[in-house]
Amino acid sequence: MVKTEVTIGKLKIKNPVLVASGTFGYGDELLGTVDISKLGGIVTKSLTLKPKIGNPPPRIAETPCGMLNSIGLENIGVDKFITEKLPVLRNYDTAIIVNIAAKRVEDYCEIIKRLEDAEGVSAYEINISCPNVKEGGLEFGTNLSMTAKIVKETRKITDKTLIIKLTPNVTRISDFAKVCKEEGADAVSLINTVVGMAIDIKTRKPKIASITGGLSGPAIKPIAIAKVFEVFKNVDIPIIGIGGITTWEDAVEFMIAGAKAVQVGTANFVDPTVSLQIISGIIRYCEENEIFDVNEIVGSIVLDSPQV
């Protein structure tokens, strides 16, 4: 019997597999098809203070081994989430990690305040890395002092587990993870999408209305693994690994690189049940390799070369 529970800050999740923000709605989208109570947890679509209708179409385009998106944080807003979604989600035995995005530090705090009074929130994931909007956008996630400020202020408001979601679109992501730790974040999640672009050569127009979008999927996995390992090597903070995870082997690869948990994103679009298969795959892997606790995998990378 493999122990699958992992701890992220104050949050205990029953297994290390979460569904990534923006790739599984609010968790209630496919209740008939996917048993979310088997998941380690769900990360909600980014919530903003007021509802947002999102960006104009086309919002997505397929690319080699991945896709571009610019949804523009379309969401129902924090209040409607509290009244309509939380009561449903509460009934499932899975961690509810609420991802929030805002244009101003005050708004991040205000959203958390409202959620603190509601029942059923397991943890917060602060999105400062969305490439497609002002809210939670890159001018926060690519700026060390803004990042520090957001962590410091949101930390004041909640004792719940605070996860900061980082962007790969920076020179050294570990500098940002360091700041998050110093300001009291419990964990970092990485990576958000990579800024990308595609053009339809027939029309000569960008394939995404907002011109650039966020690249996700298997194509970015090597980039994500490198970023996870960079943070693991340089900063002592729990890491949630994200980027191109499509199979249990991918999940294990992230954990070996130093991730305590993982999030499955774009792969949900190909098969919304993939996360459940990844969980059973990890358990099978542990059994076959006589690993009794998934935590043994975390950071178990073997380096014979001196470079590190």
Binding site: T33, G54, R59, N69, I71, E74, F269, P272
Partner: protein, 258 residues
Amino acid sequence: MIIKTTALVVSNELVAENIYRMEILSPEISRNAKPGQFINIKISENFDPFLPRPFSIYNTIEDKIQIIFNAIGKGTKILSTFKAGASINIFGPLGRGFNIADEFDIAVVVAGGLGIAPFPFLTKILKEKNKKIISFVGAKTKNQIVTDGLENIKIATDDGSLGYKGTIIEFLKSNILNMNLTSSLSTFKIFGCGPNPMLKALVNLCNELKINCEISVETQMACGTGLCRGCAVRSKDGNYKLACKDGPVFNSNEIILW
């Protein structure tokens, strides 16, 4: 209820120029499907192409569903190589189909190119309801015309190689006017599917003549299940609707075509 299954390909045959019809054994999907709904097909075990491809349910025959596709790109070219006996990963039925509950006694089906895809299934159900059906089918040229499963077929081709020479909407308009039933037009309902320019022309015509009209739209899709919010379509109220969940079938006065 959405079914995810690895199904058996019963047949996959070339039915027109570069157009294939595939029959897939899937009792649950066949039982649950409604005209206008679609399925997602995972094309490959590998990651290129990565996203599933949506295909309208062309028809259901007992335990089987059929799709029809044009081998134009990465995914459909691979799909065209599937042979009888192969297994295929499908997901469905997805989306909101045609509304046949409302008031009409004559159904006018209007299809441009592969826009015929959802109509054999719709025709079957409408006939069960004893509705009168007229089908207008248009294409660039005659080799691309597919009509089986349709009723009272009227054809137009851009090059005049078969039927009326011109667009299917021009042809439709002249017919409707000739019918000269402007009074009872309200009892018509038009069901349209095809390329965007054609759908726009159709919607304009229906607004002009005040005809109840539903159209099935095509957008880029990633998930087909409401997860990604990628298939947004502008709705009249200034918000967005999802082609994969609120659609792909919309009433012509619900949305704004792009």
